[in-house]
């Protein structure tokens, strides 16, 4: 393809497919290039996606990928005191990413995007400093593909981030090292709630998740801060399954039918995601919530913005960083504060002792915390203040900023 409105999207995950759809809507020629021959496989995900929240309502979650509706979540403090964040109506879904990623890619292709699978991008081409194409390795041969804009939607280990200099390597603490099982024969107490467990010995700088998938099935996984643990993520998860009360109650009969590994960028977005002729989106840009580790929704909303802006810049014949910056400005307007505040809370949580988390859980436990009446919120905060525990009060303040309590 050599047309003068051609956009190359590196990566056919949720970010890439959403970007492609938006760029096609603006009339650009699009090629999605992925080094895999089967996108979405192996599954490296907890498979939870919200359907509310800024921008999320605009994205389409393929119906055929939905496994169960979810009303919210329950968090267990280290001493297993539970706090619920649940609504009456479903606020999200557990999906099947095998179906999800493939269906999104199929829709991108049906909208007119070309898809080149089994092609690994190994370099960028440039003219006078402006990125104007990629070099791929495909079927054992090197090949150049020209484009007006190159979009790096190539995930946590983004080659485009390295090649553009927008991000070099992560520090271990910047990522979560993840491990998970898909299990059957689970006796879940709340089949429409996600469960999270915290604890410095259970899962250092991270959490354990149990996500229901319907019919006694569940994704059970763990993410631990890179370099934080003395064991591997798998060892921490196996220890949980064997020894933790919550696991014993719900997963004693469960059988493992799939093992999953994964890496999550949890250090917040890159400082900059745009250069002359190229931009980054999704995990490549660090569009992942630093606490929940959720990334699919952000990847797709930011992808929609990226595709639209890139196509418009191509149509106007100016793909300089200055013009593409509109993308950076627009996604930051939506999520910039949320990411920054969550990162602050995350850092605070690292320094929070298990006892403080238990104290906090004791104060908040009871009715679901979502949409609490103002009077109850004030009462909860007053209780926190009455403890005179500085750390607890600071934590409560940050949670309030994020409108969590």
């Amino acid at each position: 393809m050599s047309s003068d409105n051609h956009i190359i999207i590196v990566g056919g995950g949720p970010a890439g497919s959403a970007t492609a759809l938006a760029a096609r809507r603006e009339g650009a020629e699009v090629t999605i290039v992925d080094r895999k021959t089967h996108v979405g496989i192996p599954v490296q995900c907890g498979e939870a996606i919200g359907k509310t929240g800024p921008g999320i309502a605009e994205i389409e979650i393929p119906e055929e990928s939905i496994r169960v509706p979810i009303r919210g979540f329950r968090v267990y403090s280290p001493a297993l005191i539970s706090v619920d964040f649940a609504e009456k109506e479903p606020s999200g879904y557990i999906i099947d990413r095998r179906v999800f990623d493939k269906e999104l890619l199929a829709r991108a292709a049906e909208s007119g995007s070309d898809v080149l699978l089994g092609a690994k991008v190994i370099d960028l081409t440039r003219t006078k400093g402006l990125v104007d194409g990629v070099v791929v390795r495909h079927n054992g041969a090197r090949k150049k593909i020209k484009a007006k804009v190159v979009i790096g939607a190539d995930g946590v280990n983004s080659e485009i981030a390295r090649l553009t200099g927008l991000r070099r390597s992560f520090k271990p603490a910047d990522i979560d090292s993840c491990f998970g099982y898909e299990m059957v024969n689970c006796d879940l107490e709340f089949p429409d709630l996600m469960e999270f467990l915290l604890g410095s010995n259970l899962c250092p700088r991270g959490y354990i998740w149990i996500f229901p998938k319907g019919e006694g099935r569940a994704n059970v996984g763990i993410g631990i801060g890179g370099g934080f643990g003395v064991y591997t993520a798998q060892q921490y998860l196996d220890n949980f399954l064997k020894n933790n009360e919550i696991a014993k109650r719900q997963l004693a009969r469960a059988k493992i039918v799939e093992c999953r590994v994964g890496a999550l960028p949890v250090c917040g977005p890159n400082e900059q995601n745009v250069v002359d002729g190229a931009l980054l989106v999704g995990d490549a840009a660090g569009h992942v919530h630093p606490i929940t580790g959720g990334g699919m929704g952000y990847a797709m909303v930011c992808g929609s913005i990226a595709g639209q802006v890139a196509a418009q810049c191509v149509a106007k014949g100016d793909v300089s960083a200055a013009r593409l910056q509109e993308y950076e400005t627009r996604w930051r307007k939506r999520y910039g504060d949320e990411f920054a505040q969550s990162l602050k809370l995350r850092d605070l949580l690292i320094e929070t002792e298990d006892e403080t988390l238990d104290k906090l859980a004791k104060i908040v436990t009871g009715d679901s915390v979502v949409k609490l009446a103002a009077a109850r919120k004030i009462k909860i905060f007053a209780k926190a203040v009455a403890t005179r525990d500085r750390k607890l009060i600071t934590l409560m303040r940050e949670l309030r900023k994020l409108k969590m309590v």
């Binding site: 390597s169 271990p172 910047d174 890179g226 591997t232 798998q234």
Partner: protein, 68 residues
């Protein structure tokens, strides 16, 4: 420094039977010495300096340092 310009005589080695290709190791490698493909990963011995950062993030103990 050894004659090959390496700071250590160690080299990362991946156990392909355990590795699930999560890419955690590759994202933290300061030398960009880990190449990720669809079904396997490759350590590039010319680039690897034996620092061991990759071994700190593997969820399954699939990567370790060995003597060169």
């Amino acid at each position: 420094m050894s004659p090959s310009g390496k700071t250590s005589n160690k080299l990362a080695k991946v156990n392909g039977e355990i590795c699930g290709i999560c890419q955690a190791c590759a994202t933290v490698c300061p030398k960009n010495a880990i190449d990720v493909f669809e079904h396997y990963i490759v350590i590039l011995p010319d680039k690897c300096n034996g620092c061991g950062t990759c071994t700190k993030v593997c969820p399954v103990e699939a990567i370790e340092l060995v003597e060169r």
